[in-house]
Subunit: 243 residues, 2 copies
């Protein structure tokens, strides 16, 4: 039976989603739990990577599960064998040809900034703490330039030059403010390596008055220097994978 | 100059508020920062203890600060020398005879329960996870019996028999529900050792249908066996000290 998992994790203690030689990625701890339950090696296929320190409210992954366990059995057994920083929110049977990565139609990411002089101890590793005054309108206007189809070459990190086409479509960017908590939400068909953190970093630099919106826009249209202000991983959440 | 500090902390990594031989209490880390800043030994007087793992949104403490530093200077210097799990929210000059413990007129504590089958990784160590169905009305009715002046002998742990009078006044108990998040708020002139966690544990046991409200009430009026269901420390927050 092919199983689809919805997975939440606190990215702080992990070396990202994707399996590492050191065994300290989220994928590694779930694969170890799968092995413990099934007795054999099971490969887990995620919808895509998240970096070290990045959180997930609902990452998706699939695996082929043999034996008599129902989806609910798998969920319970996995949660009993995982650290509390990784939780299986749901397990369900998927179509035989379902693939968590190739079938994904899009993703929603959220970037969270606390704009206050002092950061609450309860938000450490969960938001980006920006103590200097941000201009909300500038944050909004800068974030909005990323909407649409653009060449995001300047707003992505090159991972060994494996990605040739750097065009992507960002379907919607929304920006909201709740007291001193600022939230940027990005929905797109897919994102390049570090792209969301670079867009968030650009919007915050604009909101600080250190970059103007037009110069950011120029990087999206012409060849220009790579953007080098990457917002910290701890403020980023993979909200949902769209199928 | 006498200084009054408002302090927030994540209780998870600490052995409680009060100074320990191992130096791993919140008071210890703040006193080390004070010593680093001032060059001499400064004793910090808190409004009272919190147990290992208990959090504070606003604990209060005072110390005598010599030298030229203003309250704002102290705040900045302390935050620069403290781990991010402890933050000075405010430092202000207090009357020469102010005492954080003896002048406290009351305290507000909050106990937070997540009543859902699966606990979010982002709430680990921050709430008490109760996966079984709770009855909100029973929770409310049980928590409300603690309002007023009672002998809380049965709802407190004996710390070497140092407290002789176990009567206390709980001014107000409020119970609220926000989706699957249940919050109990206790305001009182003062609380005995483990008293808030015992009241929260009693209310949750009643909400699970494992204890009836009348049998809880009887423990408040007559001599009865000590209550032995102490709610976990991680769900408890010292919200405010009242002066």
């Amino acid at each position: 039976m092919k199983l689809k998992l919805s997975i939440a994790y606190d990215g702080t203690p992990f070396a990202g989603w994707q399996s590492q030689a050191a065994g300290d990625a989220v994928q590694d701890v779930i694969e170890r739990a799968l092995q413990k339950i099934s007795g054999g090696r099971i490969v887990l296929h995620g919808s895509g990577r998240t970096d070290a320190g990045v959180h997930a409210l609902e990452q998706c992954a699939h695996f082929d599960g043999e034996g008599p366990l129902s989806p609910n059995d798998w969920q319970r057994a996995l949660n009993a064998n995982l650290p509390p920083t990784v939780r299986i929110l749901q397990a369900e049977e998927a179509a035989a040809d379902f693939h968590a990565r190739f079938d994904a139609k899009g993703k929603i990411y959220r970037y969270v900034v606390r704009n206050a002089p002092v950061l609450s101890p309860h938000e450490v590793d969960r938001v980006w703490h920006v103590p200097h005054d941000l201009n909300f309108e500038w944050l909004h206007d800068a974030a909005k330039i990323f909407e649409g189809r653009h060449d995001f070459a300047a707003f992505s990190a090159n991972r060994g030059g494996t990605v040739r086409d750097t065009h992507r479509t960002v379907r919607e960017v929304s920006v909201s403010q709740d007291g001193t908590l600022l939230t940027l939400t990005f929905e797109g068909e897919g994102f390049l390596y570090k792209m969301v953190r670079m867009m968030a970093g650009a919007a915050v630099r604009a909101a600080l008055g250190r970059e103007d919106v037009e110069s950011l826009r120029r990087r999206l249209v012409g060849p220009g220097p790579r953007w080098n202000h990457v917002a910290p991983a701890c403020g980023l959440y993979l909200v949902k994978v769209l199928y």
